[in-house]
């Protein structure tokens, strides 16, 4: 069994983001990391590796710097690494097409990915890749296990936990999983150095990045928060309670 994990390198949540000319100024970002939901997907893949003997292939798409996220994945145990090397920007359809082609090339049986990336928040990659591969997609899962030739996923629904069984290849989109991505150890880090990264251009995969589909027009800062309200003295207590109940909805 082979499990592909789609990994996106995103700015660390502690990094300061600045915007120039309607897009994020990537040069000003000091720290990049694997998108958190992708980390849950990777941890689930590593469990399939240890419990069911699966091979884990980590796939990323992005500029040269994003190979670091593959090395990080190798350090925790990913067996194969594929980097779709693309320095430009493109619409979501092209990106999904390139990722789907990389999955096909990897000959993976199932695909695990985060439900959305921490930077763009679009949530379109997993279902988009599933559609291009002609596979079903199960969203918002927290766990995937191999059981008697099927894949059983756990999802939380508004009424409780749901167990979903899939009897063939599938794309699973991860919500917050049950376990955080394991910490690499030194041995893993030193082994990761030796693991080859298969670097492919979209052209190598026979994919054009021209036909983007959905494109981000521009990004901007969120509106500034209105100034806080100050209350003084015991006499204001009833007003504060009213506001907490009716405006903030917290009591």
């Amino acid at each position: 069994m082979k499990v592909a994990v789609l990994i996106k390198q995103v700015p660390d949540t502690t990094a300061r983001i600045s915007i120039a000319g309607g897009s994020v100024d990537e040069g000003s970002i000091s720290k990049w990391t694997i998108s958190p939901y992708d980390e849950y997907a990777l941890e689930a893949a590593l469990k399939l590796q240890s419990e069911s003997g699966a091979k884990v292939v980590a796939i990323t798409l992005g500029p040269q710097r994003s190979s670091k996220s593959l090395i990080d994945a190798a350090a925790v145990g990913a067996d194969e690494l594929i980097h779709v090397l693309y320095e430009g920007t493109s619409g979501s359809l092209s990106l999904q097409g390139a990722l789907a082609a990389a999955v096909r090339k990897s000959e993976a049986d199932i695909v695990l990915a985060g439900k959305q990336a921490a930077d763009t928040n679009s949530g379109s990659t997993a279902p988009g890749v599933a559609q291009m591969l002609g596979l079903p997609c199960v969203g918002l899962v927290s766990e995937v296990k191999a059981v008697d030739g099927n894949f059983v996923a756990t999802r939380s629904t508004s009424s409780g936990m749901e167990r979903v069984s899939v009897n063939g290849p599938c794309v699973f989109a991860f919500d917050k999983g049950d376990e955080e991505l394991r910490r690499p150890n030194v041995r893993g880090i030193m082994m990761a150095k030796k693991k080859p990264i298969e670097s492919l251009s979209p052209a190598d995969l026979g994919v054009s990045m021209e036909d983007g589909g959905v494109n981000v027009e521009s990004v901007g800062y969120p509106p500034e928060k209105p100034a806080g309200q100050t209350f003084q003295g015991a006499a204001s207590a009833s007003e504060v309670v009213t506001k907490l109940r009716e405006e903030a909805n917290v009591i």
């Binding site: 502690t14 090395i71 350090a75 910490r183 150890n185 030194v186 030193m190």
Partner: protein, 390 residues
């Protein structure tokens, strides 16, 4: 507000990719597993057993040793690990220093093949804890006059004497003990549970409170003959261990200083007095600039010493300079950081006073500040000034 490691000259850009990855793993671990728990551990005076397991799990114990399940990293990587651990707490770094440089190293360098295979894999994984018995109640800077002795008795050695200020002693599964056999200092491996061996914990410390410090007591302690370290005689044995541990301390002190600087800078930026952040006042800026200056120099000293350790082109005096200087400035930085924090600096809400108290120990152990000056004095003049005798 997360921790921002001061690295004014971008010294870490000189590290390899792997060294930086190891740094990030240890730094994240300190953020997640040390910082939230350290103050409580200090109040209770305990070293958490989960720290032992997790340090072993990360595979960083005995960092620069090769083979027998050891990590086989560069000395530079070992230094980086010490720096990140001590950013959390000197007690955590002390655990790793003693385990790696003082207990694993002598077995690795001077032990028999059987001893290496028996102890090193378990010590690298953290399953076995080691300690190092050199200092005695009456012999600290002058270990050559130690009174602990070993005598042959048929197929055993019998140890008698006592060691003091032994990090990890009470929790250790084995102790590397230095004792005189026919007047010559030799290393012996004593295991927990050996007849006549006990390791009571020393209580009442105002420093390194999250680290276990013990006495080792040997009363007709009987150990098999195969527990002697065959590969070394004389003070060269313990001194080679100390060289490695002191090297790690020169990096560790930088971590403690970085932690104090980070806290002081962030406090100065947010503390308002006379309508402005205190960081806007010249006296505070002067202190912060001095801290940055000394940390940057210490970083360069530690890094270059790491390069020399890795190339093998070093002498013990190089280590003396770095240990002495870096701990000295770290302690002074902790004090100035406490000053910038005002009264808040004495609370355990901030790390500065804990670092300050820890660094008082670090200044004294592994060769006191003054002894390192004397080592350098001898190097400069060719005249030893440790004793009054020629």
């Amino acid at each position: 507000m997360g921790y921002e490691a001061l690295d004014f000259y971008d010294v870490d850009s000189l590290l390899t990719d792997e060294e930086r990855m190891i740094r990030d793993v240890v730094r994240d671990w300190v953020d997640e597993s040390v910082i939230p728990k350290i103050e409580n551990a200090c109040r209770e005076g305990v070293f958490l057993d989960e720290w032992r397991q997790e340090l072993g799990g990360m595979g960083i114990l005995g960092a620069p040793l090769k083979g027998y399940g050891c990590p086989g990293l560069s000395y530079t990587a070992y230094g980086v690990i010490c720096r990140e651990l001590e950013r959390g707490d000197s007690g955590i770094r002390s655990f790793a220093s003693v385990q790696g440089s003082l207990a694993m190293y002598p077995i690795w360098d001077f032990g028999s093949e059987e001893q290496k295979e028996k102890y090193l894999p378990g010590m690298a994984s953290g399953e076995l804890i080691g300690c190092f018995g050199l200092t005695e109640p009456d012999y600290g800077s002058n270990p050559g006059d130690m009174v602990t002795k070993a005598e042959e008795d048929d197929d055993h050695y019998i140890l008698n004497g006592a060691k003091m200020w032994i990090t990890n002693g009470t929790i250790a599964d084995l102790a590397v003990v230095w004792a005189k056999l026919d007047g010559v200092i030799r290393g012996f491996i004593v295991e927990k549970g050996d007849e006549g061996f006990s390791a009571p914990e020393m209580k009442g410390k105002h420093s390194l409170k999250a680290s276990v410090t013990s006495e080792l007591v040997f009363q007709d302690c009987k150990i098999p003959k195969d527990r002697i370290l065959p590969g070394v005689k004389g003070l060269r044995g313990p001194f080679s261990c100390l060289n490695n541990a002191r090297y790690g301390i020169s990096w560790g002190a930088v971590g403690a200083a970085q932690s104090c600087f980070d806290s002081a800078r962030s406090y100065a930026m947010s503390r308002i007095q006379f309508d402005h952040p205190i960081a806007a006042y010249q006296l505070v800026q002067n202190k912060l600039a001095w801290m940055l200056r000394e940390i940057t120099k210490a970083q360069l000293l530690a890094y270059h010493l790491g390069v020399k350790k890795d190339s093998g082109e070093w002498v013990p005096e190089h280590i003396s300079l770095a240990k002495m200087n870096n701990v000295d400035i770290a302690l002074e930085i902790a004090r100035v950081a406490r000053d910038i924090h005002g009264a808040n600096g004495i609370l355990d809400e901030y790390p500065v006073m804990r670092h300050m108290a820890n660094l008082e120990s670090v200044k004294t152990y592994e060769g006191t500040h003054d002894i390192h000056n004397l080592i350098l004095g001898r190097h400069i003049t060719g005249i030893q000034a440790f004793t009054r005798e020629a």
